[in-house]
């Protein structure tokens, strides 16, 4: 029994390490709102400094990003750099828009990839002292603030979006640039 359990554990661990990006980021094979329960960002649209997040499909990039232990399934990316004081908004959308409903809160966990030192780090912890603040109505934009200035470079930012109905998460591979200004604020939450 113990041997069977150990074998199952080893196989499971090995399979996790061998996940393709397609497998890692697939939505749940159920119907209705259960399609969203893996919470890997398929049930919302996220806009960062005016850019829509898009699926991260390149296997080599995904492999490089997941070689670092940050415990995030990074399934999304931004094609252009954004501000270190970025503004983000989210809308219920994707494969089952009714899942989230109106947005009540956006949270962010920020991981600086270059900060991982494989010689001494068993894992990459998020940057401390970072938080999101609503610019006005919670359904509008939220601004990223940090106690210490964020450096230019490659990051994974996991946006957790809480709606009236449920919550979803997009872990986004992006580049931050302190020279860039943040996108415009939407204080009303009415959107376009």
């Amino acid at each position: 029994m113990i041997l069977q359990t150990l074998t199952a554990f080893v196989l499971s661990t090995t399979l996790q390490a061998q996940h393709s990006q397609k497998e890692r980021c697939a939505h749940h094979q159920a119907s209705g709102e259960m399609m969203c329960v893996d919470r890997n960002g398929h049930c919302m649209d996220v806009l960062v400094d005016g850019q829509n997040t898009v699926a991260l499909t390149d296997e080599a990039t995904a492999q490089r990003v997941h070689a670092i232990k940050h415990d995030q399934d990074v399934c999304w990316q931004l094609m252009q750099p954004v501000s270190t004081k970025l503004r983000v908004s989210a809308k219920a959308g994707g494969i089952f828009p009714a899942f989230l409903g109106k947005i009540e809160k956006i949270d962010a966990h920020v991981f600086q990839l270059a900060d991982f030192d494989p010689a001494v780090d068993s894992r990459l912890d998020q940057v401390e002292g970072v938080r999101m603040e609503a610019d006005g109505d919670p359904n509008g934009t939220w601004s990223l603030t940090s106690e210490r200035p964020l450096k230019a470079g490659e990051y994974v930012v996991a946006f957790q979006v809480f709606g009236v109905g449920n919550w979803d998460k997009q872990a986004v591979l992006l580049k931050l640039d302190p020279v860039l200004p943040p996108g415009p604020a939407d204080k009303t939450g009415v959107g376009d």
């Binding site: 001494v120 894992r123 912890d125 998020q126 401390e128």
Partner: protein, 189 residues
């Protein structure tokens, strides 16, 4: 009667001397921490105040003429007879005139020891500090450009405390084979 009064007076003087001695030792730890914090300061030119806190703690403040000040909150945490300290290692901060207070790195090795003994001591033990365990922890520094690393040994088991210099994030880890497994984590400053 006179002998009793004299003995009492001597005892009081003894306590006052011991308390004064403790205050001086704790004050010196604060001064050393300011010097090591990376925040430029000429401690001799600073105006000092000491505010007693609870049973065996002090808040030392060191202010400069421009209105900036260091605050150092410290407890007599190395004294096994004292059970009033909630942790080991002092808390140091600096506030510029009219500016926002910022916490500074200070006595990180002691804080690492505190978190290790906290994980190792029996759950039912009510005291914050188990001095018997603390005494058995051997610490050595092995820093890099981006991390403060304290190697710790306790009863032939290897641990380490890795502190990120950029934001004070830390992990205490136990060595298991070739792996380092986190047993505690948080922010130190």
């Amino acid at each position: 009667m006179r002998a009793i009064c004299l003995t009492g007076l001597l005892l009081l003087n003894g306590f006052a001397f011991a308390a004064g001695g403790t205050q001086a030792v704790l004050r010196d730890r604060c001064v050393a921490a300011i010097g090591a914090s990376g925040q430029p300061a000429d401690v001799k030119a600073l105006h000092e105040t000491a505010i007693p806190l609870a049973e065996s703690g002090f808040l030392f403040q060191f202010a400069d003429a421009a209105g900036a000040a260091f605050s150092c909150q410290i407890c007599d945490d190395g004294n096994p007879a004292n059970h009033a300290c909630g942790s080991i290692g002092l808390e140091l901060s600096w506030r510029p005139k009219d500016g926002e207070m910022k916490r500074l790195p200070a006595e990180l090795d002691k804080k690492c020891v505190y978190f290790l003994q906290k994980e190792m001591k029996p759950r039912e033990e009510a005291l914050f500090i188990d001095h018997a365990i603390v005494k058995r922890i051997q610490v050595s520094a092995d820093h890099t450009d981006t991390r403060w690393i304290y190697k710790m040994e306790l009863d032939d088991n290897a641990f380490r405390c890795v502190i990120r210099k950029s934001d004070g994030n830390f992990r205490v880890e136990r060595q298991t084979g070739d792996d380092w497994r986190p047993i505690a984590a948080g922010v130190l400053f």
